[in-house]
Symmetry: D4
Subunit: 251 residues, 8 copies
């Protein structure tokens, strides 16, 4: 039952053409049966400030291109994550203004002018190998209209590098801390700032890092307050959470 | 918005006292806002044939007794699982006809006459140590008005014991196979019958059984067709699933 | 000892040519020694309604083709699971009417007319990436003469999509719920229906999904009643169990 | 080197009694040697809005009491987490206005008037067994001057219970979702709101929940956007993160 | 169908009172239906040389005593494993000649004279903490009529202690090597002898021994040839396997 | 110090040219310093009946060929395990009589006539996918001069297939049971025979078999007596242990 | 063959009473047969500077006392680790000068004057809950005649606390870093010093620390150079390694 | 604020151009804000005796070459670890004197004359498959100016091979023990020497070695004293720690 059908029903009730008892019966079944008339998806886009993302692995470039094409008229910004160059080519074919952020493995399709970015999300990494995940976070956050500061390669084995950039970092409303191996950066940073910290464990490392498990457990057990953790290598998820926070603060 | 309010709204629309546009606005918010008017919980009781269960661990006997008391007038059958003797005492105080199945650690409170049990669920165990979990399943299934056959201690290290009782087992509409250690019974039984098999791994064993993990993995990897697995030691859950199947078959 | 030998023995006993004591000795050894005279395999085919499946990984196309050829005269339906295109080619060479379901990675060889499908098994997925596993389940269930309803991409992050299709889903006798990542769909669906639910965890996801472990554990720990779990990505196994249930209900 | 010593050094430089070269040498060693003059701890209290917490396990009541006594004159609010009744008694002996939240296992010592609570943090649980962890979160968040809404027992096996309270939940600036077993609530809630969600897995359950691992993995793999996860049973940590977010939004 | 029934059937066939066709029909169903007439359990006792063992955990002393009583007339030797003193008391009440091996946590009830022990099984431990498991193995092996040599506390951190006793060890037909922690003894011993080695990992140790996992994995990955592994702390199982080997060799 | 040096020392002592005190000092250091004079390696070959094996993974064909060449004059039988065709080619170049067992991925180089094989080792598999591991065991055991019986594809989902071949299996002195997935075959077989059983878990399967972990745990937790376990897929190791046992029995 | 027997043999050779050939034969068997004449154990005591330690768990106080008594005349220092008060009482009864370090759960029995401690081992902890493990390390290291500096509660969530004490820490020849939860301290400290760092993960924490696994993995994956890890909670082992290093440096 | 700025500030204070109060304010912020003026990195190089290492995986040869070029003028020795031949080619293009150690997968670029190596680090392996990891350790240790002894293929399954080389091994100041599979070598060696032992588990093996977990756990649980463990396959890390120890001893 879509909105026009519902409207028609009510008009029929008003016109006396449908009895209230019959209308009541129809409406009782409504909650589970048909939610389509509520513009839930539209609300969702408005709410999150970011309509839709395409996760590329397991999709052919052609499929990816086709999905983008269907979305083009309904979404101001489309994001394709974990995109290979071939995915980008297929997207560019239907959306010539698409931009490929290679390190971030992310394609961004934006239609119209980008609004002024808000607030500040700092993306901090322990090492250089963590940068692809960090860039996924940074590019995603920027596509969601947040201002982003990148602070890379300030891992804890040389804590002075981190301290040297602390003033910059403290400007941010939210931090995204990206680290593999022992994942200690989240705890050290968490103790030096007072804003929310989103920790992203990465699979960087080898041996007993068990594909990112070492950093994941370290971050979950952080002795610092105010640290929330997302999945291993999930730069995109970290950006979503950071954006939700930053956008609320800067509303 | 309950049913009478909804009715009133429609009557007001019919009477021309509320405009259809305004009614539409109110109804749009309805699906997520207020589902109470739909008698969902009632439907649920009717559907599952079993209204409510109380999981006792973490609840004091007093709390358990109080919960039973609140339920007494709305439910034909109440079941308290993982119940200690003290839970039973507290329940008996408010429901004198409560019955305690000690091995099953289950209290059953039934009001009125029990209907004729339907179909047949066979509960099969590998060893004697698996019996408490099996009894939880059997007692629960009986409380749900299923006929139950117990076939205990027919583990695979003496496969003739199982074969000797195969004819009985094959009468069942559904099997619940309860086994710890290497959990092999589910596979052997699964290959000898053609009805659905619900496998319950138990934490029986020691060392590399890792609290039931060995049996759980074995059952998930069963080479036999038609085996579904529930959580370790979850006799109650197995009975729920078996009952859903048996009741449908024997409807 | 085959049937004719056994018959001969009995005739000799009847004829007084073999003493009952000697016959007794021979028969005592019988159970373990020779079960071939019992038409067990035939019973098995009849029972399960589905004679034989070929698991393709680790088999060359040639081997697969040869196996199909041997089976052709004894089985009405043959199913090759996890089949690559090359397996299909080899099968088609010996069974030209073979059909390849590419997404399901399954080849079905059916001889003669298919019987009218029975009952209804609904196959429900959380995301689009779960579809290959779901299709393996759906195609297998159809090959076993069950009617199948596909309800895809109704994951819990947009619960209204699921609710919108609930009426359809509730028509089914059995549900197969296919989900990766956090596997929550099984619990949500399990709470909305009263038929048996077979949960299939998939390896869809990355990082801390640990190859499907996250969905597997979630489904085993489901707070909903009536959920049985099969192995990760095991669409075939789910269909076998669902078919056993559906066929019994609709007998 | 404390502030007065530093001041003296500068005055000596100004007075020409210490050469700039010598002063330079002393200052070079400063960063790592002596950070005490910087009022870091004071800043920290101010920043986080919550000076100090005492984790009670492994501490005797006497030790706990002694720590509270030392803190009393420097901290407006002191919180003792995972406190037994005996810890509370010892604290009350030195701080008679201490309040014991038994379900939350938390003692709060507040000196002076509490400020008006800000914003809104909603604490949502799947089941009743999750309430102790939820209360730890709620009490902690209240002690940090946040307004808190409790929405308990709205687990996904009865999704209508959650939907019925969605309007309330959507008022919150931040959500804390507490769930054990399959931890699905975080994903379902995450898909229905647009504020940040902090997920707390609990050890509620048995068998293959492996002490909370099932809920933890589910939450880390949530298909919903905007979900950050803290350690198993870590209500306190969730409150810290939620408070950081809520306080920033409502500044 | 027991032996007398089968005999009767044959006699009826011989007497012409049952037709061979009808007898054939009855016999066809025999293999799975009724194996009782075959003296399988008797064979089993004869085969293994050791009729029955009672695993005490989860059984009350009374239950244990009752089981022993039932077994007394059919078994020459009864063994109760993981027995507490209370189990022993209950067994002694029905079998006064029972002997309690306290370190081995094993009760042995032997009726009549023990036969001369055969061959030689050496039980070797790494440390003194491994002795309870080793004694369970040794006492069990002795109850199964094997000669046993105990070589304790010859762990690899002092390899000379092992080498000093190598000549003795090399007399054995089978070795049982019992070790916790890093479980290295199995590999070192395995390289020095040419008889079969049965490795028993123990849960001795702490921290990253994970309840015996470290020793278990080490033994499974032994670089020495000829090592078979049993479950963690499973001295009984090691003795069963060693006895099977030793008894065959010395037959 | 080699034998001649030792001999010289003693002769010098006998001749009075070296003082006993000085000789004593030299000999004291001997045990750890120089064991070369003891023909340990020769003993080892004699003991195990099988001098040397080359594990091919990580070695180039050239390296493998070179190693074989060096061994040729000292060893009657050389075995190359996990060998690719290329390894075989390189070996054949230096040892033209080398034989490649493709399924077993094993090359055997035997010089001179093979002795009469002894005893009987039965190699039993659950499925056809387990055959490569089983063949590795069988070929290795044959190279060690044991008679081998192959009994393949008798998995527990069709227990009659196993029972049908039980008489053959019972002829063996030792069993090697090879199974993946739920690994139940070891328990079922272990309960039907009275000889030692060596269980080889295989990595056959998918999903929650976790690379063979499911079968490994099942076999370690076998409820049958007399089962020893080797590493996952370790057919070679199983054969070594089986050969040690069989050779002792048939000596 | 002890030293006197060996001497006698040589004298007999010298005297011409034993032929060199016969002596050679006897000596050939020597390496494995009898290493007792080599004063290995004495060397060991001298080497490690610490003769013997008694691990108390699993030992009764009486057993512990008896062991100490046997050791008293051969060892200058005896150490009982993981000792309860009752162990101490039993030790004091036989060695009245025994000292009980309660937090360290360690009893030290020293006979005669302690030598001047050498070098410097710094024991650093992240939190106060890590102190028992740290004290075990410190007391053990002191008993091994090393000078020890304790630097406690300098965890990374407040990195200034660590930096403030860096000068002290840098005096040490070896560091022992003790930390639970995320174990980040080892990495941060490792990057600030240039001496060897021994990291001790502790089981401090809860939930996803999995009994110390989180800290263990973090330390093994440390991005800092020069970090070696010991077992969870193994303060004793850390002290042994640290002492070996410190004693060599300060020799 | 760099050194010159600091100097200028002090000169301005001295000149009376900046007030001491204002200077004080600026200096207060200094510790965290600007550590650059402290020559930390230079100190670091001096301290560790080894300035910089490039971890090649994830870096293109071009990137690697570029990094080397930037480092060339500041570092006497540059090391590229886990380097492929292509990385070497790119490095050689900018540093023609670079040397590629193929087995060690390590490129060393040394400028000027190498100093005389100090002390002795022995690198000991269990098998030949462990040699690549061992060579990484050996080459790294040599690049850090340590003398290195290689003792390969002395695994515990033939303990005499180890004993035969014990005198050599005992010359070392530090041992690096490299072993996969059951990792027993660390314990055996640890019991035979009195110097510090650094254990490197390798991923050599298959099946239940779980990528090196078996050796890792064995080494962490070593019953020998004085063993520290580094990450799986981490030859580089072992060399760093060994070098720190050896350089201190031989200073």
């Amino acid at each position: 039952m879509d909105v026009s059908a519902l409207k028609e029903l009510l008009e029929n009730v008003a016109a006396g053409q449908v009895k209230t008892e019959d209308a009541l019966e129809q409406l009782k079944k409504l909650p589970y049966e048909n939610l389509d008339f509520a513009s839930i998806d539209h609300h969702r886009s408005l709410r999150t400030g970011f309509p839709e993302v395409i996760y590329c692995p397991g999709k052919t470039p052609e499929q990816t291109g086709a999905i983008v094409q269907r979305m083009l008229d309904k979404n101001a910004v489309i994001l394709a994550s974990r995109a290979e160059a071939a995915h980008y080519e297929a997207i560019k074919a239907v959306a010539p203004h698409a931009v490929y952020f290679e390190t971030a493995r992310t394609v961004v399709v934006r239609q119209g002018e980008a609004p002024e970015p808000k607030g500040l999300i700092a993306v901090v990494t322990a090492g250089t190998s963590d940068i692809p995940v960090a860039e996924e976070a940074a590019v995603t956050a920027e596509a969601m209209d947040n201002r982003v500061l990148r602070v890379y390669d300030v891992g804890v084995a040389g804590v002075h590098r981190l301290l040297a950039r602390l003033d910059e970092i403290r400007q941010a409303q939210v931090l995204i801390v990206v680290a593999g191996m022992e994942g200690a950066l989240a705890s050290v940073v968490g103790g030096l700032v007072d804003c929310p910290v989103i920790a992203v464990p990465t699979s960087v490392g080898y041996g007993a890092n068990f594909g990112g498990l070492s950093a994941l457990l370290a971050m979950l057990n952080s002795c610092a307050n105010g640290v929330g953790v997302v999945n291993i290598d999930n730069g995109y998820g970290a950006a979503c959470l950071a954006s939700r926070i930053n956008q609320r603060i800067c509303k």
